[in-house]
Subunit: 371 residues, 2 copies
């Protein structure tokens, strides 16, 4: 039910097909983030039209609101948000450590206060899996502890706990129509990352995620960690780099052997009036666009670029019209999905290694990290 077949290689880059109960994913792939069971401002129909296939949703958020029991009662996440294609949920770990008001970690799990109303909650590996089974995404994640990359001692403690929790998640998992990914942690220490990659690879999971990157370390540090981790991971398992990234990150990540990416960047930038473009990241609120009759990107095939001028989008932003966010989200998501399609084609025809620096050159104006 969850076969992963590598169909082409280009140096360390891979193209493949990952089959799930809700359809095949052509890898490498970029997944839009639908935090609260909606990719912000977009209908599923708009998402399909822009070529999205895998959508990520957040366990922490859905557990708090509307509640995973309610989602299960209403037939699961696919049915609830009417997304008929593959879905992925994270474990809640990252949000508990980054978003919740206070948290108390022990070896059993984490007690935290909701960022919404301050109410007290507890996640354990078993609870995270149970919630993710209620949500019913095709791909689910082991419960992990994400550390400050610059705190070596804590990175080690968190990594070891992540390993023990991964084993408990595997034991806790029941549904056959879901696959669990273990998560490699270890901060920015090559030795810890090596240990973690070896340990997580030794587990019986269908896929492997790399967590704890793009959380404050430098781009060089992230690349070094990928260079340490990826060669250790079994070739046969899909590899998911969590919460990454920019256009540049996708190019660099695929080059290092990553198959799956997700990031809130395209929709978050849209809310801040920014668009990916070959000229660099544009802030469409800028007065220089007031009379600009060009689309955001003349080469883009998205609905926004096929239809509207920069001048119109700027007007919507200045007039505080919500349609601006919708149009920019459509473009930014399509830009990354289109880039990923180009990358996949290049990997498949063996030209990725040659085209990579040209692609990076084309996209490096857009590469500002947003952590």
């Amino acid at each position: 039910m969850f076969d992963f077949e590598i169909t082409a290689r280009d140096a360390r880059a891979r193209a493949g097909v990952f089959s799930t109960p809700h359809g095949n994913l052509l890898t490498p792939i970029f997944a839009p983030v639908g935090t609260q069971a909606t990719v912000k401002t977009l209908t599923p129909s708009q998402l399909s039209e822009l070529g999205a296939s895998l959508v990520l949703s957040n366990t922490y958020h859905l557990y708090l609101r509307p509640g995973d029991d309610l989602v299960a009662e209403l037939g699961g996440l696919h049915r609830f948000m009417r997304w008929p294609h593959p879905m992925l949920t994270d474990s809640g770990g990252f949000q508990v450590f980054s978003l919740a008001k206070t948290r108390q970690v022990d070896d059993e799990g984490v007690t935290f206060k909701s960022h919404i109303d301050g109410s007290s909650h507890r996640f354990t590996p078993e609870r995270s899996i149970r919630i993710q089974e209620n949500l019913g995404a095709d791909i689910i994640m082991a419960f992990d502890e994400c550390s400050d990359p610059n705190d070596h001692e804590y990175s080690k403690t968190a990594m070891l706990r992540t390993h023990r929790w991964a084993e408990r998640c595997i034991k806790a998992k029941r549904r056959a129509d879901q696959v669990l990914f273990g998560i490699v942690q270890g901060g920015i220490d090559p030795d810890l990352r090596t240990d973690s990659a070896q340990f997580i690879s030794s587990l019986n999971t269908i896929g492997i995620a790399i967590g704890g990157l793009s959380v404050g370390e430098t781009k060089d540090e992230m690349h070094k960690m990928l260079d340490v981790v990826c060669p250790i991971l079994p070739e046969s398992k899909p590899r998911y780099l969590m919460g990454v990234g920019t256009p540049e990150d996708l190019i660099d990540g695929v080059a290092r052997g990553i198959d799956i990416f997700d990031c809130v960047l395209p929709t978050r930038l849209a809310r801040h009036h920014a668009a990916f473009s070959p000229e660099g990241r544009l802030n469409l609120m800028n007065a220089s666009f007031a009379r600009d009759e060009r689309p955001i990107d003349a080469y883009c095939d998205c609905y926004t670029c096929r239809t509207f001028t920069r001048a119109y989008i700027r007007h919507l932003i200045v007039a505080k019209e919500l349609l601006a966010g919708t149009l920019l989200s459509i473009h930014n998501l399509r830009a990354l999905i289109r880039l990923m399609n180009e990358i996949r084609t290049a990997v498949t025809d063996g030209s990725f290694h040659d085209k990579r620096s040209k692609m990076l050159l084309q996209w490096d104006n857009n590469a500002v990290r947003t952590g």
Copy 2:
């Protein structure tokens, strides 16, 4: 270029075809409002899909932002907002009197302060027409003065000024690809309304609008005014009841001989979590919908009702997701357009008079006025 042909009658109700340079309008018709060159939260593609044909936009708002000169420079409103179907602009009169911070009326025109930044501006009948020619809608409105319906003296003064301004608008108008509608005023006084209907009918305009209703008077008072005005208006001209209405208003208006309606109600209700339904106006934020797997309206053919449950829409509202507003706007607009299609069919096959009370019964739960 602007023929109006009445194709069927049922008592005082009429069905017709009003041709414009951007396509034929099948009347009676309901026009969604796109105040700032966008029907809030919806793409033109979503608007087309829900069956909208005529869209109204506001001269006052577009004059202030982004400026009518800029819209003209970018090819006019149709091109600017990418709405290829017929459009209508109001004259700015209503907003100047209801929205601007301060205003000073004289026989020449109105000086007012922008509600956005307090800057000073002046509209005259000639200026309103020039702005509307810059915007380039198919149907444009004479500059009028909208009075407090309960102030008889002011209603008379404003009506007389509206008449003089209508004549000046006719003189000022230059573009052959636009039609001008005169506006009947007169508050809630039958004599004033009679005078105004006679005067405006005597002018050489293609269509006639009825203004100054749904601005604080009772429903009975509005009906009385329509009963006074409509029989005076020439049969051959399309009649537009401005800023109205609720589902009930559409039924009552068509029954009195109105052909064109517009109202912000469907999109405004959407922003306040409310939906038209056969059960009455629903507030989808209500906890009772948390587990409700039904669509808003099982008989509705809109994208929202074909796709989503009330439970999901409630979740979006509670989670403050903007998609809620989009989905409710789609439904509410489609509900009125569908109702209008039903009315038109009934008028055409001669059953409207019989069906009217049943239609009213079906919709009177939704009839709360928002004036």
